[in-house]
Subunit: 395 residues, 2 copies
């Protein structure tokens, strides 16, 4: 299961919530296992998951009739469904394969009309109409919060996006497995790109090789910042026709989405041996990531990790190194909790998956960056990487 | 330019707006030409475009300091920028290449602190603090609307998402060119997938071949519904390990994103000659699309197109054909205006780009679908397709 059920229960108890309603795509998939394509590829389509505390009935998926095939074809652990809206499928009377049969049964559920009516019905049916309910405010259409409150006048609705972000921060083993594979695919995609790196190749050509490996490994491209030479200093560099030249830095800040889970890693290559300054700076950045990974363990403050990493980079070769964070959690979202930043209130916990990074951008010259994905275990970090952060010299 | 400036001006005049604020990724890119990666790949990061009427200053991009490299590296037609937040880049004093120099200049702009403060400053600077302003409500974080109104107590804020959707419905030639290429890439990707279609191949293998062609053509995968046999009847079918068997229908409902513009097309193949019922139904569906395309021209009601398509399908071989729409606009979003549905108030206009579709899903057996992309010209439709909608027989 993706959902960390014990952590959700603890957070709901802390906030005295009788139920949580997930509305943003990440939170719906996280709490229910249901991936509603429509809400993932566009903004607007509504799908929800209602997760009540024990004793208030079963969790419920609330989704449009046009997505019932996905409910039928997925292994969602939430089995109750409410549907809304029209969608025509033809169904014979005869025996069907299990997926089609389940879809037919779902179409036979009553049509609740629209998303909010279906959600109100789910809440009311669970005896929660007068309860204190956490509602993920991020996925609701504008105005829906007020309309929901009006339809449930005796309920106390409180925003729950930050609670769900907190729950999502500590991964289950199923999530770690997906993140490990996402990271591995990103590394394999970097290797595929570097395999064609030679003088005259363009950033776009490397990007094509990168994304081809990603889709051949059943992930979807998301983050594909690949830049050469001075363009490697553009923090969000988008591949262009710039041709690779001798001495160029190649910076990858990349990662796709594998079974809905994101990767975000960074590696550096150079065409030909790197110069002394690049070597010195990269060693310092790598030392910063390594130092962060040394001290990360349950109970350590995220701000402490930040300070240790920055201080190490400064001491190791970049005295004026400045940075506003040295990493973040990752999962269904590319920036999960915690934030490894100076003002972060977060504390490292076992099971968190972190991107630890020390980027350094020198305008007009080059950008260097090391970014590793790690999972926090009881006694420290376990790396999800299969490659070291050293500079790869190509050509 | 992507923006249909004359149409925006006319819609703003109709609604008596002195300015429009774009907040959703599609609308920011549309009105300004600026693609802020952060808001496209996650929900939460804020970027805006302020578009005033003539006489109220220049349009302004409002974005985080962490995205200024993208401003510097893109050909946005909006040149004024306000930035907010910290982000460290190192800059030498010396001469820089043009992109780096522009980025350095952008970093030297004052830091407005946070997104709303920067937007309020842009509005106030333009002399619009007491004006009637259309604010795209879709991209704002929850609570931001109220905070914006509080910071601009004399301004009249009105929701503008539907206005922007209406403006976006009539494409500029630059948009048509991108959509044409997006459609072509989808067709090429279908051809690449069918090139490996033989008995025993899996849906996932076809999907890999499909997406590989898409990324090699510089598009990003978005919609990849590819299903065999009974799975072709799942309307949002996600590729699985299902193996292709003789007699199977293969349904593609697919399209990537090329230079931010979406494709959404559908084609049918069969492994071996299709049976009589499949042929009859597919012919009826194709006739429906063809009939819709015959009558689509400026001034025709979208609801009339719906009625004509459904009626044609019924008369041509599927007497009980039922459907809640026969297509929609497409552009930066996968579902732009108009809606080709029975209750649609929309009227077809020259320059609209439409997906015209007649899907038919028979649970447990097969799904058939024809979906073409067309652009509306003065005297009818111009197809953006390079292939006909006929069944392709493979194997």
């Amino acid at each position: 299961m993706l959902l960390n059920e014990a952590r959700l229960a603890a957070c709901m108890k802390r906030d005295d919530l009788a139920a949580v309603v997930a509305t943003a795509p990440e939170n719906v998939t996280y709490t229910s296992g249901f991936w509603a394509m429509t809400q993932w590829i566009r903004r607007g389509p509504q799908a929800y998951a209602l997760w009540p505390v024990a004793g208030h009935g079963e969790p419920v998926i609330v989704t449009s009739t046009a997505t019932l095939d996905l409910v039928a074809d997925q292994d969602a652990w939430v089995e109750r469904v409410r549907r809304f809206g029209d969608f025509s499928v033809v169904s014979d009377e005869g025996e069907l394969d299990p997926t089609s049969a389940r879809q037919r049964a779902l179409h036979e559920l009553p049509d609740d009309g629209d998303a909010l009516s279906a959600l109100v019905a789910a809440i009311t049916d669970a005896g929660l109409a007068r309860a204190r309910i956490g509602v993920d405010e991020l996925g609701l259409l504008p105005g829906y919060w007020d309309r929901l409150q009006k339809r449930l006048p005796a309920a106390t609705l409180v925003p729950a996006a930050s609670l769900l972000r907190k729950v999502r921060a500590v991964k289950t083993e199923e999530e770690v497995a997906r993140l490990r594979r996402a990271a591995e695919i990103a590394e394999r995609s970097i290797a595929a790109a570097l395999a064609i790196a030679r003088e005259g190749v363009t950033e776009l050509e490397l990007a094509r090789a990168f994304h081809t490996r990603t889709v051949e490994d059943d992930a979807l491209p998301v983050l594909g910042c690949i830049g050469f030479g001075p363009r490697s200093a553009l923090m969000n560099v988008q591949p262009s026709d710039r041709r690779l030249a001798h001495g160029d830095v190649i910076r990858f800040d990349v990662g796709g989405r594998y079974r809905h889970y994101r990767a975000d890693i960074a590696r550096i290559a150079t065409l030909g041996e790197p110069g002394a300054e690049i070597l010195r700076c990269h060693r310092a950045l790598l030392a910063g990531v390594e130092r962060a990974c040394e001290i990360i363990r349950p109970g350590v403050r995220a701000a402490t990790v930040f300070e240790a990493a920055v201080e190490t980079v400064r001491r190791s070769g970049i005295p004026d190194y400045a940075r506003n964070h040295v990493g973040h959690g990752i999962g269904l979202d590319g920036y999960d909790a915690p934030d490894l930043s100076p003002g972060s209130p977060d504390v490292i916990e076992e099971g968190m998956v972190l991107c630890v990074e020390t980027p350094y951008y020198v305008l007009g010259r080059w950008g260097l960056q090391v970014e590793d994905m790690v999972v926090v275990r009881a006694d420290g970090v376990e790396s999800l990487m299969t490659t070291a952060g050293d500079i790869r010299v190509v050509g």
